[in-house]
């Protein structure tokens, strides 16, 4: 979206720049159907969601979860609040650190940078679904063995990102890792262990 677009004259709907960004994001995901008010903006007919609460249904970890949410609620806040899935963490809250990484279908995304209403047509997978009950996934087990975690706040995001990465790169090189696992930050400094996890080093640092 170029800023220029925002300066074009619009239908007199009182749509502010902030609202506009929300509704323009909606168009891709939702067909224009009966219900929400429709305005003409940026050359397209777009439905206005909100500003009050709207019904949102998400497909999370194979379950349909519904809540009344304001359109401004991010996917991350929907997961952590009403749906009480707190594995994804809110750290930077603006798409820089990766601690909130979840899967939209098969693609890892920063859940803080996706609106909940925009995620309704995707299958969402969170860290909670990567392990069965108490049993750890092989990637999680490797995180434990390589001690690739300290305070643990960035860890769920890193585990989701690493799981995805290893699906895409079953035999990764050091270069693959440098290029592909650079979208998550850790403050305690656990990258050495994470690198060992991603390199599929056997046995961890266990003696």
């Amino acid at each position: 979206m170029k800023d220029d677009d925002l300066r074009k004259p619009e239908a007199p709907s009182g749509v502010s720049r902030r609202d506009f960004m929300k509704i323009s994001a909606v168009t891709a995901a939702l067909p224009v159907v009966l219900g929400p008010k429709v305005v003409h903006a940026a050359g397209e007919d777009v439905p206005i969601q909100g500003p009050g609460k709207v019904a949102v249904t998400l497909n999370v970890n194979g379950k349909k979860l519904s809540a009344q949410l304001e359109p401004r609620v991010t996917l991350l806040d929907a997961l952590r609040g009403p749906f009480d899935l707190t594995g994804a963490k809110r750290v930077c809250d603006r798409g820089a650190c990766g601690a909130c990484t979840v899967l939209l279908d098969t693609k890892p995304v920063y859940a803080c940078s996706v609106l909940a209403i925009d995620a309704q047509n995707a299958k969402i997978t969170t860290i909670e679904a990567l392990a069965e009950a108490e049993k750890l996934s092989p990637v999680m087990q490797a995180f434990v063995e390589h001690d690739a975690q300290q305070c643990g706040f960035c860890t769920p995001g890193f585990v989701v990102a690493t799981t995805c990465f290893l699906k895409q790169h079953p035999k990764p090189t050091a270069d693959d890792i440098r290029r592909n696992l650079n979208g998550n930050y850790c403050r305690c400094g656990t990258y050495d262990g994470i690198r060992a996890v991603a390199l599929l080093e056997q046995g961890g640092k266990q003696s």
């Binding site: 963490k89 999680m140 975690q149 305070c151 643990g152 860890t155 769920p156 696992l181 990258y191 266990q206």
Partner: protein, 789 residues
């Protein structure tokens, strides 16, 4: 006589091995719960309206519109009209509402009128003509001196020389004592002459008197080499991934439950009791996991008190307010900057003979820290003076190893530059000065030899300035560091249940250091049982008090109290079962899951059978550290470490990359080599981060932080760290010293080692951390004449 001492190397089933942390599985699977994750039914959100000005006076506040908004449950003014605000982001009004969005709407509806005052945010070198403070010391000045860690003898001399303009009462002395002010300083205050305060404009610069030792001028004149330079490190921010904050509720009118992100579970209730008029005993503080602290999470903060008040106003319902990222950068602590002009001299063999430094820095309104210069090396002839600069920004808080990383980058940088003048290897210069390297000299010698081997230092080191062709220059640098790390006060209740399970209750916390794991290791090791048999209950102030986790004091404290608790419990168990084994309690041992007569597996019981003889009531004893009645001392103070860095510098772009870092570290008896190594790897990475990227940048025009977020406040990422090698010193000479903390020491040297490696690569000193491309290019440009590239 009960033997509390750590066991011999031969009888340590678990101590000193590599064991995965017990909290690994819940953390890796996202099940671990943090304060931020507390999410009960009916939870209200809390948010704070913050002052947008770096210096202002609150004139009026109108919250009526916010209070009327649907969904708003409580509004509480934090700093009312008339209050002077000293930094941007300071708290003005708190709001609780049904959700965060409604809180934000409410904050927008609040009208605050400010009188904007002039601010000052620069920590550039102070003008030369500033006089040392001569007027009487005010109450604020005194507090600043203490917070800036001005050495006691300097404080006392200033009090004697300048007098004081305030009249402390007995209760003030008592509170000073409580805050750790030395009794000699308090005596000096008692005897100080009262001098009325001078009515002169307040200067942001607080300059100490010149401190002189020996005869520096004479020593400089006689020296074989003198080097002068400029060194320092900029302000950085803790950037805890879990921001500061709490979730608080009132189950009764005088009863609070506090979920808080803290390094100090046992110390919170006492701090909340007074501002909220609740007996400390009625406050239950809880925390299972904390997403980073690094020194910034010891106290109850103003926003926590606000959260409690909002909950109270909202009928006791839980209110959660975790700072947003911007506030975390503006108000939740930082590491003070420290810069210095240094002149240092040596004889022809590299023996240091004289030191002179004029240092300055800022840590917010209170001034700055006082880096211990020169670091480690007790150079015989010295002259030094420090200026703390008061700036309008959120106050500094302890950041891993307060003042040491700055002191290291200044001192080790100056010594490296001096070595280059002498055409000497800086390792040889350090080795030539081990007689003035203090109590850890022998440790440094041993560690330097190991680091040399791991890095290939002697083999690859070159004189200053990489002479190979091309624009990428490579170099190596090193630094040494020290820290105390004695174990803090720690208590535990240690219970053996009749079914053989073991339970430890301790009011401690685990910041991700592996504290939980080492407590369980020590208990299981002492009792000869598997770790799975031991449950640790922690993170609750209703458990026996244990100190805050700061200054590397936790490992020594919690392992010592656990060891004593385990020995006391084991001996009580021996008493109970000795008759049935027809032996005296002293003849028994607990090994390999059995309680038996020493060395005789046939005269014994399985652990489970033995515990069954306890009877119906579990056996509970106490363990504490320190405990003079139960010698020996199980913890100790003082560690040494050496680090080396190998870097490449692109002289066209100014980009520095770390190729390899080596850390050799001592911390006495290593309880768990795996988590200890992780602590050192983490410190290296955090060190690369502050050496190359991190800087809190303040806008001189608005006085606000320009990069209060994780895209423009850059942290090192996985691709930035190079190859890392860690070696822990263990065995004879180290083990018998007892357990010593490890969190601070390894984070001291990376900045200095990397800065020195860059100087070695490009032939000129890049004065200040972080070593950003613009600074590297500027140094190359300025230093062109001196550069040997």
């Amino acid at each position: 006589m009960t033997q509390f001492a750590w066991p011999d190397p031969a009888s340590r089933p678990l101590l000193g091995k590599k064991i995965s942390r017990v909290d690994g599985p819940p953390k890796a699977s996202g099940r671990a719960k943090y304060t931020y994750d507390y999410n009960p039914q009916g939870l209200l959100a809390g948010k704070i309206l913050r002052c947008p000005y770096a210096h202002a006076k609150v004139i009026s506040i109108d919250t009526r519109a916010a209070e009327k908004l649907s969904g708003v449950k409580a509004v509480e003014v934090i700093q009312g009209p008339g209050t002077e605000i000293f930094w941007a982001g300071d708290e003005i009004v708190g709001v609780a509402a049904v959700d965060e969005g409604t809180c934000e709407d409410a904050l927008r509806a609040i009208k605050v009128e400010y009188e904007v005052l002039s601010h000052f945010v620069s920590d550039a070198e102070p003008p030369k003509n500033i006089a040392a403070d001569t007027g009487p010391i005010g109450a604020d000045d005194f507090q600043d001196m203490e917070e800036n860690q001005v050495p006691d003898e300097e404080v006392i001399s200033a009090i004697e020389r300048r007098g004081i303009s305030f009249k402390p009462e007995e209760k003030d002395y008592a509170s000073m004592k409580g805050m750790g002010v030395d009794s000699k300083v308090i005596d000096a205050l008692r005897q100080a002459k009262f001098v009325p305060a001078e009515n002169k404009p307040k200067s942001p610069y607080k300059k100490t008197a010149v401190q002189t030792q020996g005869a520096p001028d004479k020593a400089f004149a006689a020296a074989a080499a003198v080097s002068e330079g400029l060194y320092g490190a900029s302000c950085i921010v803790h950037s805890c991934f879990e921001t500061h904050g709490s979730a608080i509720e009132w189950p009764g009118a005088k009863e609070m439950v506090v979920h808080v992100s803290t390094q100090n579970v046992s110390g919170i209730a006492a701090q909340m009791s007074e501002p909220l008029s609740v007996p400390a005993g009625n406050i239950n503080v809880l925390q299972q996991n904390v997403g980073g602290g690094f020194g910034s999470k010891f106290s109850v903060d103003r926003w926590d008190v606000n959260t409690a008040k909002l909950s109270q106003k909202a009928g006791g319902k839980p209110v959660k307010n975790m700072l947003d990222r911007r506030a975390e950068f503006e108000v939740a602590g930082m590491r003070p900057s420290a810069f210095a002009r240094v002149k240092v001299a040596a004889d022809k063999d590299g023996k240091l003979v004289a030191w002179e430094s004029r240092s300055w820095g800022t840590g917010g309104v209170g001034g700055g820290g006082t880096p211990p210069l020169p670091y480690i090396l007790e150079i015989p002839n010295q002259r030094k003076q420090n200026t703390a600069i008061s700036t309008n920004q959120g106050s500094a808080r302890a950041w891993r190893a307060p003042n040491h990383p700055q002191a290291a980058v200044i001192t080790m940088g100056a010594i490296e530059d001096l070595a280059a003048r002498l055409k000497m290897d800086p390792m040889d210069v350090l080795l030539a000065n081990m007689d003035i390297a203090g109590p850890r000299a022998q440790t440094y010698k041993e560690e330097l030899a190991i680091a040399d081997e791991m890095m290939g230092w002697k083999k690859n080191w070159h004189q200053r300035g990489d002479k190979t062709p091309g624009t990428i220059k490579r170099g190596m640098g090193l630094s040494i560091h020290t820290w105390g790390g004695r174990g803090h006060n720690s208590n535990c209740d240690f219970t053996i249940h009749p079914d053989g399970s073991v339970e430890i209750k301790m009011g401690t916390q685990d910041l991700g250091t592996g504290a939980r794991t080492i407590i369980i290791i020590v208990a299981a090791d002492t009792l000869g049982i598997p770790m799975e048999n031991v449950t640790l209950l922690y993170g609750n102030n209703k458990y026996p008090q244990s100190g805050g986790s700061g200054g590397s004091t936790t490992s020594g404290g919690v392992t010592a109290s656990t060891r004593r608790g385990a020995i006391n419990a084991r001996d009580a168990l021996f008493e109970k079962i000795a008759p049935s084994l027809k032996a005296s309690p002293e003849e028994l041992e607990a090994v390999k899951g059995r309680v038996q007569v020493k060395g005789d597996a046939n005269r014994g019981l399985s652990w489970k059978e033995a515990c069954a003889k306890i009877g119906a009531v579990p056996l509970t004893v106490h363990g504490k550290n320190p405990n003079k009645d139960e010698p020996p001392d199980l913890t100790n103070s003082g560690v040494g470490g050496v680090q080396m860095a190998d870097v490449s510098v692109d002289t066209e772009t100014g980009i520095v990359r770390v190729n390899k870092m080596v850390a050799v570290q001592d911390c006495g008896l290593v309880v768990n080599v795996k988590t200890a190594e992780s602590q050192v790897y983490g410190a290296l990475i955090m060190g690369i981060s502050y050496a190359l990227y991190e800087e809190k940048i303040l806008d001189p025009v608005t006085g606000r932080v320009l990069n209060p977020n994780l895209e423009f406040y850059r942290l090192a990422g996985l691709s930035d760290i190079g190859e890392l090698k860690v070696h822990m010193m263990t065995g004879k000479g180290y083990d018998e010293r007892g357990v010593i903390g490890l969190a601070e020491p390894p984070v001291v040297s990376p900045g200095a080692a990397i800065s020195n490696a860059v100087a070695n690569a490009i032939g000129v000193r890049v004065s200040f951390l972080p070593l950003t491309p613009d600074r590297v290019l500027a140094a190359l440009e300025e230093g062109g004449a001196n550069a040997s590239v």
